[in-house]
C-alpha cells in the first residue's frame, strides 16, 4: 500500500469528484457543444441560496485530466484500478467534513492513492504522469529539456489560457442552468483576452511542431484539451483564420483516451459518505 512504489498491483485509486461538477461538466460540455439546454434531464436544480461555486471557475474543466491522464497510460486498467466517488454539488457534499478532510478548499477533484491524497487537478495529473513514467504516453517527455518546455506550456495554460476562457465557461454554465443571465461584459473581456492568447498559440504551432512542446503529445496539450473542446463548439469563430490551432485542437480532442474519459460512468459511482 506504499504509494512510493510503482507497480501494477497498487491499491485501488479513488477519484473523488463532484457528480454535478465533474460528471456534469463532462456531460455538460458535450451538452453545451450540442447547444441544447432543453435536454436537461441531467441538470442539477440550483436553489436560490446556491453556495458559492468556486469549482466551476478554475479547476472543473480540467477535472477530466486526471481520469484522462490515467487512461492515456494504456497499461493502467482504469476500470479495475480506478474507483469513482461522486461529491454532489446540489447536496453540498463538498462541504462535508469527510470531504474537507481530504480537500480543505472544498474543491474537486481529489485523488486518493493508498494513504496519499492529492488535490488540484494539474498536480494530480502530474503525479500520475510521474508515477506511471515509462508506461503509455510519455506525458513528461524523455529529457530535462523536453520536460522544461512541457512545463512551460503547461504553465501557459494555467496563467494565460485558463484565466481568459474560465470566466466565459462559467457564464455559459450559470446561464444554462438559469441561475442568472450571461454577463456580457465578462464574455467580451474573455474573448478579447482569448484573441490575444490564441494568436500566440497559432504563431507558435505555425512554426511546425505538431504539439505545444514538440512533436509528441504531452501534459501541456492535455491540460488544454477540456476547455479547447468546449471552445471549438461554443466559439468556433476563434478557430477561423487559425489553421494550425484548429488542427491541433482537432487532434487533441479526438484522442481515444480523451473520448473514453468523457464516457466514464459517473451515474453509477457511489457518493461520498
Amino acid at each position: 500500500m506504499d504509494p512510493d512504489t510503482n507497480g501494477g498491483d497498487g491499491p485501488r485509486r479513488n477519484l473523488f469528484v463532484k457528480l454535478r461538477a465533474f460528471g456534469r461538466i463532462s456531460s455538460q460540455l458535450r451538452w453545451l457543444n450540442r447547444l441544447d439546454p432543453s435536454n436537461s434531464s441531467l441538470a442539477p436544480q440550483f436553489s436560490e441560496n446556491q453556495h458559492d461555486t468556486p469549482t466551476f471557475s478554475t479547476c472543473s474543466p480540467i477535472c477530466c485530466s486526471p481520469g484522462w491522464c490515467l487512461r492515456d497510460q494504456d497499461p493502467v486498467d482504469v476500470e479495475k484500478e480506478l474507483k469513482l466517488v461522486t461529491v454532489s454539488l446540489k447536496a453540498g457534499h463538498f462541504l462535508l467534513p469527510s470531504y474537507k478532510a481530504k480537500q480543505p478548499f472544498g474543491l474537486i477533484p481529489c485523488l486518493e492513492d493508498g494513504d496519499l491524497i492529492v488535490f488540484e487537478s494539474r498536480a494530480i495529473a502530474r503525479y500520475l504522469a510521474e508515477k506511471y513514467e515509462g508506461q503509455g504516453t510519455p506525458l513528461l517527455g524523455k529529457t530535462l529539456k523536453e520536460r522544461a518546455i512541457i512545463n512551460q506550456w503547461a504553465e501557459s495554460e494555467a496563467q494565460n489560457f485558463q484565466p481568459a476562457i474560465g470566466p466565459m465557461v462559467r457564464e455559459a454554465f450559470v446561464a444554462a442552468f438559469g441561475i442568472r443571465p450571461v454577463d456580457e461584459e465578462v464574455v467580451a473581456a474573455g474573448m478579447k483576452k482569448l484573441d490575444q492568447v490564441l494568436d500566440v498559440y497559432e504563431a507558435h504551432l505555425a512554426k511546425g511542431t505538431k504539439y505545444l512542446a514538440g512533436d509528441d503529445f504531452s501534459l501541456a496539450d492535455l491540460f488544454h484539451t477540456v476547455y479547447m473542446n468546449w471552445m471549438k463548439s461554443a466559439r468556433p469563430e476563434l478557430l477561423e483564420k487559425r489553421p494550425h490551432l484548429s488542427a491541433w485542437i482537432h487532434d487533441i480532442t479526438t484522442r481515444p483516451a480523451f473520448l473514453r474519459c468523457l464516457q466514464l460512468d459517473w451515474e453509477n459511482a457511489s457518493p461520498i459518505q
Binding site: 480543505p104 488540484e120 512551460q152 503547461a154 494555467a158
Partner: protein
Amino acid sequence: MAIIVHGAGFSTCTQRTLTTLAELNVNDYKLEFVDMMKGVHKSPEFLKKQPFGQIPVLEDGDIQIFESRAIIRYLAEKFEGQGTPLLGKTVKDKALVSQWLEVESQNYNPPTAQIVYQRVFSSMFGSSCNEDVVTEQVAKLEKVLDVYEAHLSNNKYLAGDFFSLADLSHLPYTYLLVNAAGKSDLITSRPHVSAWWNDISSRPTFQKVLGMNEFNKKE
C-alpha cells in the same frame, strides 16, 4: 555555459526565479535587466523569447524557458542533489509540493496579485487603485488563508516538514502584500500563517534577492 535570467530585480516572478537559484547554491548566472518602463518586454526581439511579452525568461545553453513556475521546476530538477531539496525526497513529497504549488498558482496568487497590483503597481502603470477590487479580493484571500492557517497548524511548511518550491513560490507577492500593500494584518492575525511567513521570509536566500530590487538600491 552560464545561466541568464532576463527579468528585473523588483519583479515578483523574477524574484521567484532568483530565490530558487540561491536555494540551489547556483551563483553563476547573470540577471539581464528588461526595462519594462521602456516597453522592452513588448519589443519584437523580446517577443521572440517570450511571445506573451512577460518576464522572466531563463536561458541555459540551448534551453530557453518562460513562466517562472516552470523555470523554478526546471532548476530544482536540474540541480537536484545540491542546495535545498526543493522538491522533497520521495514520490509522496513531490506530489504534495506539486499540489501546494498549484494551490499557490490557482487559489492564493489570483487574489493576492490583484491586491498588490491595485495597491502597489497601478500608479506605476498610469492607473489608480481601485479599492472595490481590493475589498473583493481581500475577502477571497481571507478564505484561502483560513485553510492555510488550519493546515499550517499541523505542518511546519506547506508540503510537510521541509521547505519546498511551494513555500518559495509565495515569497515575492506575500512580501509586497505585507510590506507595501498595507495588508499585513491578513498574515499577522493568523498565528500559524504568521509563524510560517516569518520563517520563510527571513531565509537568507530571499533576503539576498530582495537586495537585488532596483528600487531599493542605494546610489
